[in-house]
């Protein structure tokens, strides 16, 4: 007997559910099947765009035509999702059609405004956020919410507001995953947005790192104070959110801040937050890992670990500090972490020492 069947029977005994164990539906599709469908949908959309480009060449060169046809195609995609979205072919067809429409619409926007302007980025943000709300499809919502967040980031950059995008993405991501289970009824909307925001957050943090090189590309004036301190501001915001999440998780388990456990938890969180000001990105990766563990979400945990590895390797190439300084930072934090581990062994031993892969 499978475990979900046992769970169903337990719930049935409590009178919470009735009838047969339901089959797996779209929600429980494993993430890797969704990634496959997303990538394939994107390739399909690319060919559809080529098709439109070859047959209706004029459409791509006229602003009005591109915006108009793009909108029509997106509306068509909405109806495909609405009426055929439950079938595999319908969902996949809708995905490719919608991405084609988006490609046309965005190319129209770029023609209308200079692609480099606030207005272009901001319009894309509004357009993608709207699609996220409206389009009833998981993969579609992951992609559009990520693109919306990135477009907002670029719009803020054009306004010379640097560093705040990480905070916005991180706070949205944290709110969604902290309350995931209580929003379960609306999970069809919020869960994909939660994944989209985390993907965007990692992208923004990576952009912050490569900011120095990117700045060379499109800078026409002296870098502003905000621009120079973007990684610092981003880290500070994410670190604050990280502390808030730790506090919320302590509340969830009814642990007082001034209890021994509470003080150790906040102390460790502060320490890791401070480390992140030297080795950027650490706290972002740890935030993803922690929220993944707290909500029993292995995909998020994996993503957090992957990000941790990535940021750690990137640290080697950061130019602000010498290797000697970096080695001291890492060795020292490693030693502190091992010290915490030893203290845990002594004061909070694990009851069951077997089972290393629990």
């Amino acid at each position: 007997m499978s475990t979900s069947q046992q769970l169903w029977q337990q719930l049935e005994q409590q009178g919470l559910v009735t009838g047969e164990l339901p089959p797996v539906s779209e929600v429980a599709t494993p993430w890797y099947v969704r990634v496959m469908l997303g990538v394939a949908g994107w390739i399909g959309a690319l060919f559809l765009l080529f098709f439109v480009g070859v047959i209706f060449e004029a459409v791509l060169h006229s602003v009005a035509a591109a915006l108009f046809v793009g909108t029509i195609v997106c509306v068509a995609a909405f109806f495909i999702f609405r009426y055929l979205g439950n079938t595999d072919f319908g969902a996949q067809f809708g995905l490719a059609i919608s991405m084609t429409g988006q490609g046309l619409f965005i190319s129209g926007l770029f023609e209308a405004f200079d692609s480099d302007t606030v207005l272009a980025s901001f319009s894309i943000f509004v357009f993608q956020a709207l699609l996220t709300l409206v389009m009833p499809n998981f993969i579609h919502r992951v992609l559009t919410s990520a693109v919306a967040m990135l477009a907002l980031t670029f719009a803020l950059m054009r306004l010379d507001i640097y560093g705040f995008a990480s905070g916005i993405a991180a706070v949205g991501f944290a709110i969604i995953w902290l309350n995931e289970l209580y929003w379960a009824e609306h999970g069809k909307l919020w869960r994909p947005v939660g994944y989209g925001l985390v993907l965007a957050l990692l992208q923004i943090e990576t952009l912050n790192f490569f900011g120095l090189e990117l700045r060379e590309l499109w800078l026409r004036h002296e870098p502003s104070w905000l621009m120079l301190h973007a990684p610092l501001i981003g880290t500070a915001l994410v670190a604050l959110i990280w502390l808030w999440v730790v506090k919320r998780l302590l509340d969830r388990d009814n642990i007082q801040l001034h209890s021994r456990t509470g003080m150790i938890a906040i102390g460790a969180a502060l320490l890791l937050g401070i480390l992140s000001f030297v080795a950027h990105g650490m706290v972002t990766a740890l935030l993803i890992l922690l929220l993944g563990f707290a909500s029993g979400n292995r995909v998020l945990m994996g993503l957090g670990l992957l990000a941790l590895g990535g940021f750690l390797s990137y640290y080697y190439y950061q130019l602000q500090h010498t290797l000697l300084f970096k080695s001291l930072v890492l060795a020292l934090s490693g030693a502190v972490l091992l010290g915490i581990w030893l203290a845990l062994q002594k004061y909070f031993p694990l009851a069951n020492k077997e089972n290393p892969h629990a």
Binding site: V24, V33, L48, V54, L330, S333, G334, V336
Partner: protein
Amino acid sequence: MSEHRTVILDWIAQGRLQANALPTALRLAGLIPSRTDWLNFFHRLTLWLGAIFFAIGVIFFFAYNWQAMGRYAKFGLVEILIIASLVICWRLDFKSVATQALLLFASLLIGALFALVGQTYQTGADTYELFTVWSMAILPWVVVSYFAPLWLFWLGLINMAALLYYQTFGGWFGWLFNTEQILWALFILNTAALCIWETVAYLGVTWLRERWSVRILAVASGSLITILATWAILDFDENDKITALLIYPVWMVVAYIVYRHVTKDVFVLAGGVLSAIITITVGLSKLMLEHDDGGAFLFIAIVIIGLSAAGGFWLKSVVNEERA
């Protein structure tokens, strides 16, 4: 734990479970981590992050090549750390998590030690030799660790050694022409590792059955043969590339049989579906897109959408059958 999560969310989405019954369902499924779960998580997190940060700190230190520190002090430092970790390992329970962390720590430091030898005595050795010697030296620890991630790290070192070997002997121009040879070498290496890993796990070595490590190998092997096959399709006129087109279907069929019927793993099957879609797309494009024909683009797009929808349907049915 993770499976219950999606299942419960699924039931709520289907309207089969009322949202107000959620707390009870969560408690029954053990979905909110308990105090023990949290403790376990923190033990692991501090141990692994601590060991890895510390070891990388030491590696960075030697990479900096600090002149103020004499060579004997440097050798002394790294050797003392290695010996100390081995002594602690000796005294600890083998197969414990702490032993595994210490073995990983010592294995990382061995790399620093060899790099230090090369740096100090200017041995003139190539970098591929560093990775070869490093992987040879840590092999005994990897064997006794009973720990899949350490095996993966070891395979990573071998991959680096192979890559650097071909880079060194290919020369600057060779590097350009040798890319195909490198891809083949890495494909053979990772496929062999995958076959051995799956066989040993199938024969009953339980600690190798953890899926995520072996999935990384499957992704490496599968992506490499997909790249080789699509490349062969694009350069079909050159006869020497035909091998990839012969090997690719064999790989796909064997993977299907193994991961559908022997060790069911939908992750690898999903990768196979994606690989097939990409290869078919490249094949059709090569055949049909000789002239700027709009209809061909539309046809290929529909084929991609149809194949992926069918693939998704099939994968979901395999998952359902797994859970039924």
